[in-house]
Symmetry: none
Subunit: 208 residues, 4 copies
DNA sequence: GCGTAATCGAGACGGTACGTCTGGTCTTAAT
DNA sequence: ATTAAGACCAGACGTACCGTCTCGATTACGC
């Protein structure tokens, strides 16, 4: 945890030991509240303490500020997306995007996602942590899919992989959060994005 | 504006008319504060009133809550991006993306952008308005560029235009805000995105 | 009136003349509100304007502050107490005190009295005016009664008249307002005060 | 105090106990402000909080409104007047009235007195409390002086004590506050009042 | 009858204080 | 030493009036 980390083998500090139960309750309460659509700014230590049935002191003793707490709470969320084992790049990417779409349909994931994406300038440590625990693992999956595609010759050898990753994830995100936010993220969106990304916009004739 | 909208031809209501100067000062103060990195939640009516040199009443008389004010403040921001007149789709898109990149380098635009993009769930009216005044005009530009490309035969006639738009804008946004936020949005990003989007990821061989 | 007093024969100033009706309405509204138990401090120009059906400007044009208005409003109240024509000093004084007691039983007189007596330090001009229009006329009555008593030999020739006046009025006031405020000002209070004042506290034996 | 009154022997309520220092600071600030001539109406909680160096909550936690606070503040003022031990009734009463006169020459006592006396109708609880802590103790002194006078035969056995008290105190008050307010309460006023009160207004001849 | 000019009611203006709420910190007794 | 409770100071909230100001409309007079 953030502030007290008794190394193994050291003698336990005097006095009453910290309650693990309290700690868990705090983290849970935090995630609950975030999951209910409370933003980081609106999230108050007071509310967390009340929800967790814990004194405010108990929270401040462990985390010196709200952001640290949220960061730690985030860290407990597992990145559970497995590498899709599709027969083709197209198939794998579509599968991946469908998982993402499915995830953002769940209230809790959705809200926490929003918070994480909210404002990297205002909560830089939060953003950084989010990048670590959620973004990069997912990026690695896409990177792996694309790398395998290049290896098998399905994709161009000179593909700009970073940009390709941005195209896949960015298009999905953009369309979902901003352009069609209410439309239940149109079911065939993944296929359409992958299709166009793979094909390219240009006339074939123009390529000759 | 939000609350008072005297229809044309109606007699002016009795009493001293509302001050346009005050109104402008309030909007300016709001945008100033947002531009300085204050978030919507942290933004206080009291601070706006103080900055604008205005009584709180004067604000509450016009807008019944903070969000309405921010919404109206947003609406005064002009979407000043002209349609790029490049010789080719590639050139036009690159020009467009460079303008976007340039914009987000300015503190004020950047902060306001962040707020607008922050959380469509928490501030839905804000998000909606932002979509109207900023997003859609920009989307129309991309749409126009792509439409012209199809017309001239530079792009595929069966191009999924919505998805193509999402790819262009989404990739740019995603990479800028989330993947390389600190890296001054790498100068050649626009070219690289446009390049890959136009070409497509696939091997030409695979297309034959 | 306080601010505008066109002397007779002077040419009337240009423009629309001030409305006497408005003036009267303002004074009436003021006395009404005071009569309802609103104190000078709690009395608001806004409330007076609303009650009188008049713009606030119309009040401020005539009186530069609240106190001036209240002073003028007071001045319109007539001091209607006649000189009691009792057969003896005792009878006259009792009659006088009973009138006072009766007066203070009426809501309006009572409230305005309270205001006038409220705080000579905070509203000195108000207090001064009150002394002029209400206090002194009443004091003159008592003075006249006592003077006549001395003349007829009913009272001691070396009576300290000022002090005697203070004893009569002060005892009445004190007992009424402070000691027995709720007790409907006990009906025989005037007789009892006059009795003791005339007799003196001392044993007759001690006088010999 | 008004709202929290832990009975003896009860276990202390959980949490940080209320600060006696803050409580004292609030009372002091209140009396200070009143003593500076601020009236109850003009007295603002905000000003008290600022003066006491205390949050507004700390005030509202203890007193639910301004009047309760002023009432409690009043109650802390001790009635320090000792029973005058004069050789005669005359001497004791004069001594007593001189103390009163002296008291009302002090700014603080004077202002607070004014407030207390201001308007029993508008602030009935305040008036009631004032009667308890200041008025009655003083009345008891006068009553004791008179009772002793009757006992020693110096005063008439059938003296109407209540009325006699009203005459003494009322005459003093009336003359001081209303008739000669500016005249530094003429030095010999106590003697003159006592003199006339003891003697009575009537000709001795008339008594035989 | 027409311009001039002070008035009228209405209501917006910049302020101040209200009483409430919540923020993060501090201080208890009990564990 | 850590806990839950809750008081602490601070300050924003939205409301109510303050006394001033600015409007269009009204009302008199002298031209």
């Amino acid at each position: 945890m953030s502030m007290q980390q008794t190394a193994e083998g050291m003698t336990r500090p005097a006095g009453r030991p910290r309650s693990e139960k309290a700690e868990k309750a705090i983290i849970d309460a935090t995630l609950d509240l975030l999951g209910e659509g409370i933003g980081v700014s609106e999230l108050s230590i007071e509310a967390i303490a009340a929800r967790a049935g814990v004194g405010k002191t108990t929270i401040y003793r462990r985390w010196s500020n709200k952001e640290d707490l949220v960061v730690d709470a985030m860290a407990t969320l597992k990145p559970p997306i497995p590498l899709p084992q599709g027969a083709s790049v197209r198939e794998s990417l579509v599968t991946y995007l469908k998982v993402i779409a499915e995830e953002s349909r769940h209230q809790r994931t959705r809200c926490i996602m929003n918070i994480a994406l909210s404002d990297p300038d205002r909560h830089p440590r939060l953003a950084e942590r989010f990048r670590e625990v959620a973004l990069e693992p997912r990026r690695e999956i896409v990177r792996a899919i694309l790398a395998k595609g290049i290896e098998t010759g399905e994709l161009r050898g000179d593909l700009d992989v970073d940009i390709a990753m941005a195209i896949i994830s960015g298009a999905m995100m953009w369309q979902t959060k901003w352009v069609w936010p209410g439309e239940a993220t149109e079911a065939r969106l993944p296929e359409r994005i992958v299709e166009e990304a793979l094909k390219g916009f240009r006339q074939r004739a123009a390529e000759n």
